[in-house]
Amino acid sequence: MADIAAEAAVPFAARQRPPAAVVGPAAWARTNLFGSWWSTALTLLIGYLALRFAWGFVSWGLVHAVWSVPHNDAGQPNSAPCRAVIGIGACWAVISDKYRFILFGFYPYDEQWRPLVCIALFLGLYGVSANRRFWRRELGLVWIAVLALIMLLMHGSATLGMTVVTDDRWGGLPLTLILATFGLALAFPLAVMVALGRRSRTMPAVRLLCVVYVELIRGVPLISLLFMSSVMFPLFMPQGVNFDNLLRAQVAIILFAAAYLAEVVRGGLQALPKGQYEAADALGLSYGRKTRLIVLPQALRIVIPPLVNTFIGFFKDTSLVLIIGIYDLLQSGRAAVDDPVWQGFGNEVYILLAAIYFCFCFAMSKYSRGLERGFSRSRVR
């Protein structure tokens, strides 16, 4: 009897906790890193290499780094201190000296507050759109308004007393954001239409058109499409008719992205069980309503991961416009180190560019995972 009473005195929760040997970081390391001689050896080797690399980076990037350089009376930087530590320490001075060129390209120096505001507007737009509470019809209007405002700011308007900056002088991060945002925002609806068209059973001509479009565009690299848009297209146009280079590149990106996105969306349409279409038909929903209320909401949820994958790919692919002389973020960075003073300090600039691209891409990826989790919560199987 006494035993039982003693047993019962132990709090239930305390007895339910698993022994420390199977949980906690120490246990995790024991099972995953030091489970056998072989894995212990591997862990030590990889650990050593990682430490070596990390130490090398810290030593180069922080300990021996040069953060600023003296300027002469004319304001010209003197990169001699950087040249002294080449191979030993990083020269972050190139960034503090050149960051405005990297971020804004050849945009007039005194007007660079405008592209800066544009970047802020883009970030704000992404932030608002990311929140599911704002997913209403009005959001579309907000997008149109903000994108129009961005165009106005970038270009300027003489009637409003702003200096006009034509788009051959745009560059840097705002240009990359413009290419990516306009590209994907216009490519996505086009892609949905193409995907639907490709599955149309009642309109064979439309279906054929969609198939030809997708296969044709997917069959060529984006670079060649950009070349064609910038070099070949003007050849076929009558004299005097001249579309702007940036616009043509933007159209090429939209058409290219739409073909890829259409295939992703089509995957979602196909994954939807036939019964969903039949149930919608049986209720008497029209094709448009069925598509908008039943088919797309489900199909697009299914394809969030590949969709975001494609988005991320295209965000980075916008950098290919450098081959037709457009100064996007990457090209502005490259041009910054063309400056004779800073020649040879590309590494530092590329690290900065990589960090900027990474922030955007990682944010997309993280957001999409959150979105998937949010959707699956409302759909317990």
Partner: protein, 264 residues
């Protein structure tokens, strides 16, 4: 065969004599490629009549009722539903789909919408009913199928029997004149079959015109005005449940009945 057979009360027939027929099938034939799946199906269903279609697998039962709301199209013959002939005319199709509700073997609820939204969707978008009114109507039908408390949940959170009752409520929210059921209980665990059959019996008592593909012979016996036996795309025999089950005329029906009785 069914455990529920004895529990089912006999339902009074609601056939309106003299009224125009609800559904007319006249020499309907259909092919998939070169395979003929329906052969000269001729069947007239009166308003308020309750038909049970049975037959072996692949005999064309599903195809027949799916032709009635044109989820499948027929190639020969005539189908007239509620006075409107089914043709390629989209307007006629819209009219008919409003008046004909359908319940599927696999429920086919919309998983991204709540139970309530599943039920209000068609009234709002097809019947143009104000949202509040549609919700009231939907709650009314959800109460009738005895699951009003699940209205805010998603289909994935419900049991199979509950999902099928929601599917019935969803179809009824369109206030159809005719209800089609394609093996509504075949995908259910035995303990859930009764709750769905009870719902269907309740519906039969309201005088709804019903066409059910089912192998629940107990249900057929108590509810059906007429049982239609199909085999290999043809109607082989039809008659009252009592006559069909107790005095089958054809060998094919005898064979089918013996198999079904053995099977359960």
């Amino acid at each position: 065969m069914s455990v529920t057979a004895d529990a089912i009360p006999e339902v009074q027939s609601a056939v309106k004599a003299g009224a125009a027929p609800a559904i007319v099938l006249e020499k309907v034939s259909k092919w998939y490629g070169s395979m003929q799946v329906l052969r000269d199906i001729t069947l007239t269903i009166a308003q308020g009549e309750r038909i049970v279609i049975c037959g072996p697998s692949g005999s064309g039962k599903s195809t027949t009722i799916r032709c009635i709301n044109r989820l499948e199209s027929h190639q020969e013959g005539r189908i007239v539903v509620d006075g409107t002939e089914l043709t390629d005319d989209l307007r006629a199709l819209d009219t008919i789909r409003r008046e004909v509700g359908m319940v599927f073997q696999s429920f086919n609820l919309f998983p991204h919408l709540t139970i309530l939204e599943n039920c209000t969707l068609a009234p709002i978008w097809v019947r143009k009913m104000p949202k509040a009114e549609a919700e009231e109507l939907a709650m009314d039908y959800l109460r009738r199928v005895k699951i009003p408390e699940q209205a805010k949940k998603y289909p994935g959170q419900l049991s199979g029997g509950q999902q099928q009752r929601v599917a019935i409520a969803r179809a009824l929210c369109m206030k159809p004149k005719i209800m089609l059921f394609d093996e509504p209980t075949s995908a259910l665990d035995p303990e859930m079959i009764k709750e769905v059959l009870d719902t269907m019996i309740g519906l039969a008592e309201t005088g709804m015109t019903m066409v059910c593909v089912t192998h629940e012979m107990g249900f057929a016996q108590k509810v059906a005005d007429r049982v239609v036996f199909m085999d290999r795309g043809e109607i082989v025999e039809s008659g009252t449940p009592a006559r069909m089950f107790n005095d089958p005329q054809t060998d094919r029906l005898k064979l089918f009945l013996s198999q079904i009785l053995r099977g359960h």
